[in-house]
C-alpha cells in the first residue's frame, strides 16, 4: 500500500467458493474510531469478508486482495499475528475458565500479576460487572456474556475490531444497551471497526449496502 494511513483498509478483495463468486473487488477504508456497517441479506459473503480480514477463512474458499492495518499489510499473516479482534453472535467464552480468567487470558504478556489483575478489574468495572471475577461464565445472562466477550477482545489490545452480528441473539432492550456500551468502548479506544448486521439500528455510523 502506498498510503501510510492509519486504520483498516481493504482493497480489491475477491472471494469465491465452489466456483461461486461472492465478492468481486471489494474495497473500503475505515479510520480509527470509525465503524463501517455492512448490511445485506444472508449468503452474500459478509461473514466471509470478515473471516478473510480476521484470517479465519475456511480452506474451501479462494480469496485474494490486500488488507492493511495502520499501513501494515496483514492478509498473509496467521490469525494470531494480525491483532484483529473478532466478536461473533456466540460469546465463545471459555467454559473451563472463570470470568476473570477469561479476561486475564487476553491480557498481554509481560505484565506483573498485580497489573494483570488490575486490568481485569478495570475491565469488569467498565462493563458494570464489578466483583464478577470468580463467576462461571455459564451463570451469566446473555447481555453480561456479550460484555465480557467484548472486554476480553479489547484487553488483547487489538488494532481493529470485527463484529459479526454480535447483538443478534439479544432481546431488543438488552440489544440497545449492549450496542451503546460496545460503541462507547470502541470510540474511546479509537479502533477501526467493521460491523456486519441485519438490523439498521445496529449501525452507529455509515451503512454500506452489501453487496
Amino acid at each position: 500500500m502506498t498510503t501510510a494511513a492509519t486504520g483498516l483498509m481493504l482493497s480489491n478483495v475477491k472471494i469465491a467458493v465452489d466456483g461461486l463468486r461472492l465478492l468481486d473487488g471489494f474495497s473500503c477504508a475505515i479510520a480509527p474510531g470509525e465503524t463501517l456497517t455492512l448490511m445485506g441479506p444472508s449468503g452474500v459473503g459478509k461473514s466471509s469478508l470478515l473471516a478473510y480480514v480476521a484470517g479465519a477463512l475456511p480452506e474451501t474458499f479462494v480469496a485474494e486482495g490486500v488488507v492493511s492495518l495502520d499501513g501494515r499489510r496483514i492478509d498473509h499473516l496467521p490469525i494470531e499475528a494480525r491483532r484483529v479482534g473478532v466478536l461473533y453472535q456466540d460469546d465463545l467464552l471459555f467454559a473451563h475458565m472463570s470470568v476473570g480468567e477469561n479476561l486475564a487470558f487476553a491480557t498481554p504478556a509481560g505484565l506483573s500479576r498485580v497489573e494483570r489483575q488490575a486490568r481485569v478489574r478495570r475491565a469488569l468495572d467498565l462493563a458494570e460487572l464489578s466483583g464478577f471475577e470468580r463467576r462461571d461464565p455459564a451463570t451469566l445472562s446473555g447481555g453480561q456474556k456479550a460484555r465480557v466477550a467484548l472486554m476480553r477482545a479489547l484487553l488483547a489490545e487489538p488494532k481493529a475490531l470485527l463484529l459479526d452480528e454480535p447483538f443478534s441473539k439479544l432481546d431488543p432492550e438488552l440489544r440497545a444497551r449492549t450496542r451503546a456500551f460496545t460503541f462507547a468502548q470502541i470510540a474511546e479506544r479509537s479502533i477501526p471497526t467493521l460491523l456486519v448486521t441485519h438490523d439498521p439500528a445496529d449501525a452507529p455510523g455509515a451503512i454500506l449496502p452489501f453487496p
Partner: protein
C-alpha cells in the same frame, strides 16, 4: 394397533446392564471370597487373613506390584501427554483429518501382533540389530543383553505408551466434535495465541473432561496388561497381572487362592492409581490457573519441545506398528534367515501351507466368538439406548462401563469360577459371554452419542404416522444410524479379536483363538509359524475396519444426510 407395553421395553433395556453387571458382580465375589479363604463348596465359610498374609510373604509379590504400577502409570502419563501434545500440534492444521485413517489403522493392530512384531524388531536378535550388524556394531552373534523383557519393564512401559497414545488421540478427536473446539481455537488465536498454546489452553481442558473415562480405562488396562506384559515384560518376576495368571493356572490350590488375593490387590492398586490421577488433575488445573494465565502467547522453547516430543511419539508409534507388520510378514514367508543377515536368504510359502488347517480353525473360532459377542452386544446396546429416557441414565452407564475401568485380571478369575460352577467352562458360550463384558461397553459407547444426537422429531413423526415403536426403531432410527452402527460393529469385532486374557481364562485351554495362539507361540522358537499366526490376527480387524468404512462411504453417497 396396540403399542408395546412399556414394561417390555424397560426389560429389554435392562438386558445389557444385566449381562455385564451379573458376571461382574459374580467375578468380584469370586475374587473377594477366596482372597479371604472363604470356599463355601469346600466347607470353608469363616473369613481369614491367611491367604493375604501368604501373598504378602511371597517373594515375587512386592516387586511384581511395583512393576505393574510403574509401567502402568508411567505408560498412561506418557500416552496422555503425547496424545494431547499431538492434538495441540495437529488439530490447528489441515492435515489432522488426513492422519486419522492411519491412526485408526494403527489402533486396530491387535496388542498381541503389535507386541510380537515389536519384539521381532528390537530384540537383540531382531530386525534392527540385523540391519546394522555386523557393519556398525561388530556383533557376530546376537548380543547378550535384554532389550525386550528388561527387569524394570521399561520396554513394556514404552510399548504400552505407544499403543495407548493412538487410542487416546482417536478418543480426543471424537470429543472435539462435541463442543465448538474450532471456534474456541480461532478465538484464542485472534487474541494473539499461537496455535499450539491456544489449543492447549482454550480447547484441551474441555476435551479432557470428555475423555476422562477413556483415560481411566487406559490406566486400568495398562496396570493390568497381560498380553503385552507376557511378550515384552520381565519374567522373574513378571508384573502382577501375568503373575496372577501364572498362579491361577497352577495346580496348587494354595497358589490359586493367592491369585485371588493378588487380584484383589490389583483392583485396589488400580482404584488407588485412578484416585491419585484424579488428584493430579486437580493439581495441574490449579497450577495452570496460577502459572499459565500469564499472557504468554506461546511459540517458545517449551511449546516447541511439547510439539516435537508428542509428534515424535506418535510418529514412532505409527512407524513401530508398520515395522511390526512388515517384519511379521517377512518371517511368515521367510526360508532360511540366519543372523545377522538383514533379509531372508529365500522366500517360501511352506509355513503357510503347513499351518493352513490350524489357521483356518483358529480364524474360524476367533470370528465365531467375535461375531456372536458383537451381534449380542449390538442388539442389547440398541435395546438399552432405545428403552431409556432421553436424558443419559447414569446408573446404566455406570454398570455397563465399569469393566473398562477395572484391570481384567482383577475379576476374570472370579468369572471363571462362576463358569465352572455352571459347568460352562471351556464352552464357546462362556467365551462369548466373557467377551461381552468388554465388547458390550465399547459397542454401547460407540452408539450412545449418535443415538442421542438423532433428532427426536424424526421418530415422533414416524410414530404420528401410525408406526409402532419397534417399527420406528427398525425402519427409521436404525437406518439413519447406519454409519455409527457399522463403526460400532467394527469396534466390537476388533475388541473381541484382540482379547487375550478373557479368552484364555473362559476358554480354559479348550477354546483357542489367534490372539491366544500368538501369545502362546511367542514363548517358543518358531518365528515363521508365529509370523503366520500374528499376521492373520492383524488382518482381521483391518478387514473389519475397511469393510465398515467402505460400506459407510457407500451408504453416505446414496443418502448424504445420514449421521456420520
Amino acid at each position: 394397533m396396540t403399542p408395546p407395553r412399556p414394561t417390555s421395553w424397560t426389560l429389554a433395556g435392562l438386558a445389557l446392564p444385566a449381562v455385564i453387571g451379573l458376571p461382574l458382580a459374580a467375578g468380584l465375589a469370586g475374587v473377594v471370597a477366596p482372597a479371604f479363604g472363604v470356599h463355601p463348596g469346600l466347607g470353608a465359610t469363616r473369613p481369614t487373613f491367611d491367604v493375604l498374609a501368604g501373598l504378602l510373604t511371597d517373594p515375587s509379590f512386592g516387586r511384581a506390584l511395583a512393576l505393574s504400577v510403574m509401567s502402568g502409570l508411567g505408560a498412561s502419563l506418557l500416552a496422555v501427554a503425547a496424545a494431547f501434545g499431538f492434538c495441540a500440534l495437529a488439530a490447528p492444521t489441515r492435515w489432522f483429518a488426513r492422519v486419522r485413517p492411519a491412526l485408526a489403522a494403527g489402533l486396530a493392530l491387535p496388542h498381541a501382533s503389535f507386541a510380537v512384531g515389536l519384539a521381532f524388531l528390537v530384540a537383540p536378535s531382531g530386525f534392527i540389530a540385523r540391519a546394522v550388524s555386523p557393519e556398525l556394531t561388530g556383533w557376530r552373534e546376537p548380543p547378550d543383553f535384554l532389550l525386550v523383557g528388561d527387569p524394570w519393564a521399561v520396554s513394556l512401559l514404552a510399548a504400552l505408551a505407544l499403543k495407548e497414545t493412538l487410542f487416546l488421540i482417536l478418543m480426543i478427536t471424537a470429543a472435539l466434535g462435541q463442543f465448538p473446539a474450532e471456534s474456541l481455537l480461532r478465538t484464542a488465536r485472534s487474541l494473539g495465541y499461537r496455535p499450539l498454546r491456544g489449543w492447549l489452553m482454550a480447547v484441551a481442558p474441555q476435551a479432557y473432561r470428555r475423555v476422562r473415562l477413556p483415560v481411566y480405562a487406559v490406566i486400568a488396562s495398562s496396570l493390568g496388561s497381560v498380553d503385552l506384559a507376557l511378550v515384552l515384560g520381565p519374567s522373574s518376576p513378571p508384573p502382577l497381572a501375568p503373575l496372577l495368571l501364572r498362579w491361577f493356572t497352577d495346580f496348587d490350590p494354595l497358589l490359586q487362592q493367592r491369585a485371588a488375593a493378588g487380584a484383589l490387590v490389583l483392583l485396589a492398586a488400580t482404584l488407588l492409581a485412578i484416585l491419585a490421577w484424579r488428584l493430579g488433575e486437580r493439581g495441574i488445573a490449579a497450577f495452570a490457573r496460577v502459572r499459565l494465565l500469564d499472557g504468554d502467547r506461546g511459540g517458545g522453547a517449551l511449546d516447541r519441545a511439547v510439539g516435537a516430543g508428542a509428534g515424535g511419539i506418535v510418529g514412532l508409534s505409527l512407524a513401530v506398528s508398520t515395522g511390526a507388520l512388515i517384519v511379521l510378514a517377512l518371517w511368515s514367508v521367510a526360508a532360511a534367515w540366519p543372523w545377522p543377515e538383514a533379509l531372508p536368504r529365500g522366500w517360501t510359502l511352506a509355513q503357510w501351507g503347513a499351518a493352513w488347517p490350524t489357521i483356518l480353525r483358529l480364524a474360524g473360532d476367533t470370528l465365531l466368538v467375535a461375531a456372536l459377542s458383537t451381534a449380542v452386544a449390538l442388539a442389547l446396546a440398541i435395546a438399552a439406548l432405545e428403552a431409556r429416557p432421553p436424558r443419559p441414565d447414569a446408573a446404566i452407564d455406570a454398570v455397563v462401563l465399569t469393566p473398562l475401568l477395572l484391570p481384567q485380571a482383577g475379576f476374570l478369575f472370579g468369572v471363571q469360577v462362576m463358569w465352572s460352577a455352571l459347568r460352562w467352562d471351556g464352552a464357546i458360550a462362556a467365551v462369548v459371554c466373557t467377551h461381552l463384558l468388554f465388547v458390550g461397553p465399547y459397542v454401547y459407547l460407540a452408539l450412545r452419542d449418535p443415538f442421542h444426537a438423532l433428532d427426536p422429531r424424526l421418530a415422533r413423526s414416524a410414530r404420528s404416522l401410525g408406526k409402532s415403536r419397534l417399527v420406528t426403531l427398525l425402519q427409521v432410527k436404525l437406518p439413519l444410524l447406519l454409519r455409527p452402527l457399522l463403526t460400532a460393529t467394527a469396534i466390537g469385532l476388533t475388541v473381541s479379536v484382540t482379547l487375550y486374557l478373557p479368552t484364555i481364562i473362559a476358554g480354559a485351554g479348550r477354546v483357542t483363538t489367534l490372539a491366544t495362539e500368538t501369545i502362546a507361540l511367542s514363548a517358543g522358537g518358531d518365528r515363521r509359524l508365529l509370523g503366520v499366526v500374528a499376521i492373520t490376527l492383524a488382518a482381521l480387524p483391518f478387514a473389519a475396519l475397511r469393510l465398515a468404512l467402505g460400506l459407510g462411504a457407500w451408504a453416505a453417497r446414496r443418502r448424504r444426510g445420514l449421521a456420520a
